[in-house]
Symmetry: D2
């Protein structure tokens, strides 16, 4: 009897080190930036490559749709996220909520942005899904606060930092990461072509930076 | 055998006239216009009085919140509508979806308006709730199509008429009713004070007209 | 003495019929629609052809710049109009004043539109230049008042009609002409391709219609 | 000969200190902030008091009208500025050009802002009038770049600094002065009540600060 127990314990002990942990199923939930993330070179693809190098076999699923604002995520969450039974969801939204105010008069009021964001998180947490949320990275890469929408985007980024705190979810502060990178690498104060192709959508360096930020937050 | 059948049929026939039908529980789901509808003189209050005169004992519940757009209704539908177990829901929304484009850059894109509206109806129909939907009545009462937002409001009203058809729900065409009334009663082409106090919110005549339109649609 | 007088009077009388009247120099002052008007097939070119058929030798000068609003005309009037010593100026502006509210948040307030328009006319009239003004033709060609900007465009067209009256200048009511034409020729309620290529800019039929309207107003 | 020269030089030297210089006539040309500037406690009034203390007898004239954008200044410059034969004009405009994009869709495009501003300066300089121009101070006083319109306002302030350089006119950098003051005196990151009552219009401290900035620029 004793022998059996010892061997069994030994096996369990060894398995903990050699067998894979429960595989995570991570859904990336967002807008056009995330829609592009699953393409070759996209941030989700890059992150997948980083995971392979580390022998992590988690499943990464893109759920980005161009033009999406926070309430669009809410509308399609059941079909596009919950139906996939994820263990983890990374939400990255906010650029269109600010940008569309200017381009089509259909942005999102700050208080409603907050209301929908909280509702998203609550629905996910109610299913025991781990949630991480991101600040919007950039609409324009200038570093002297003259990108036209900097003020409003900073305001929404600040809201998201608060939402993370209040809901006790991890924050991936892409806005800070992008600004820090640009302060170091954009001496000519250009509005694009540092981490983005057009001020918003990621170029290769941008995809690399986002993948690294995600890796750090998901596997710390 | 035959006798029993005749008596049974007779009882059924009498019951149809003498026994109360199942009481309806009607939720009015909308924006500030509906929020004001439950006040003294409001359209829901007026409708309640009309029902009393007809000895109808249906329950009328106001669920309007100022500033609401179609997606705000979607966000609070479970708490404010489904939780009340209504038999019937009247949706009246759209003014803010158009108006806020101009006043704060936070209106609702046409295709997203349609998407959320369809989602609202589907969720209610899935619970076997009877749905009626209204066109937005007015933003300005001028009859020569010079109210600043007439074009866009007509466009959204046309969308709602299509949504009613496609989803097979009853339509209460308040926009048509308001225009017809103004064509007959607003010879000076005023922008308010015919059916509204400010071009949007109802005065006494407006509350009366809406109550009558609702009565006709709910009890035809 | 008497004889001389009679002969002189006779000559004068004959000259009135046989000698050319003073040649008009007409500047067409406007936005992208007028900028395209001088191209082959453009409304100014078409009007020039109509004049040649009638043996009228007036000079037609295009002074349209894409994106112009009423205050842009005011800023460049000295260089682009007065410097050319015209006898006649046709002003056609208004589409961008309305449209840019939606597309970039930089349209023109109604009261300021009126103020600049009056200032334009006064400066031209002070130089004894004959002025004709046009209503904006269309932003969308649907006939059921569901073009998104119909309300505001109708409001600005109504203002221009008033401005014409108050300043005693001729009106070329292109908005009315376009609506009448569409009511007769656009049974499918299309938003373009009747008189325009995109709801705003003229196709061949549109250029023909505008040229005819201008001809009628300039040579009645 | 020599004696005469010495005496003449002496007189000239003494006159420089004892005779009054030519009195300046300074027009302050702007929007609602300048309209309030002539009221008791307003920045022009405060500046006038400072001048009295220094025994400077220049004439200060307010020419501010609420809601004015750069093109409104251009429209009324002849009547409200040139007609007064000023020696000096201080232009302070820009808040509404940015703000009205959001509140009514009628702000001013950046390139047109620049065009009208240059035209203003050229017209004044053509009359040998000394010109000073100001950056817009604030729409919100927060110091962490989360005032909603910070980005666009910074962009327009940067344009004005360039305009000053290119036209060789003095710059009064109120935006910088306000930000510096707030960085030192607004530790709670409030959006108003430091130098303004509402984020835009000046309180007593704001009027004092602006008067001092104007004094320094006008009398250096």
């Amino acid at each position: 009897m004793k022998k059996v127990f010892v061997i069994s314990a030994l096996i369990t002990f060894l398995m903990a080190f050699t067998l894979p942990q429960q595989k995570q199923k991570i859904v990336f939930f967002g807008d056009s930036i995330t829609q592009a993330g699953v393409k070759p070179g996209g941030y989700i693809t890059v992150l997948g490559d980083l995971l392979k190098q580390k022998n992590i076999q988690d499943e990464l699923i893109g759920a980005g749709i161009g033009g999406n604002k926070v309430y669009d995520l809410y509308l399609r969450m059941e079909d596009d996220v919950l139906a996939k039974n994820p263990t983890t969801v990374v939400i990255w939204v906010g650029v269109n909520d600010v940008w569309h105010k200017k381009t089509s008069g259909t942005g999102t009021d700050a208080n409603k942005f907050e209301g929908f964001y909280n509702a998203l998180i609550k629905k996910l947490q109610a299913k025991n899904i781990k949630v991480l949320i991101c600040t919007p990275a950039a609409i324009g890469e200038k570093t002297d606060y003259t990108n036209e929408l900097d003020g409003d985007l900073n305001k929404y980024a600040a809201m998201i930092r608060e939402i993370a705190k209040k809901n006790n979810v991890a924050l991936i502060d892409l806005r800070k990461a992008f600004l820090d990178y640009n302060l170091a690498n954009n001496p000519e104060n250009k509005d694009r072509n540092i981490l983005t192709t057009d001020g918003v959508h990621l170029n290769d360096k941008g995809n690399q930076l986002v993948a690294e930020q995600m890796l750090k937050a998901l596997y710390k």
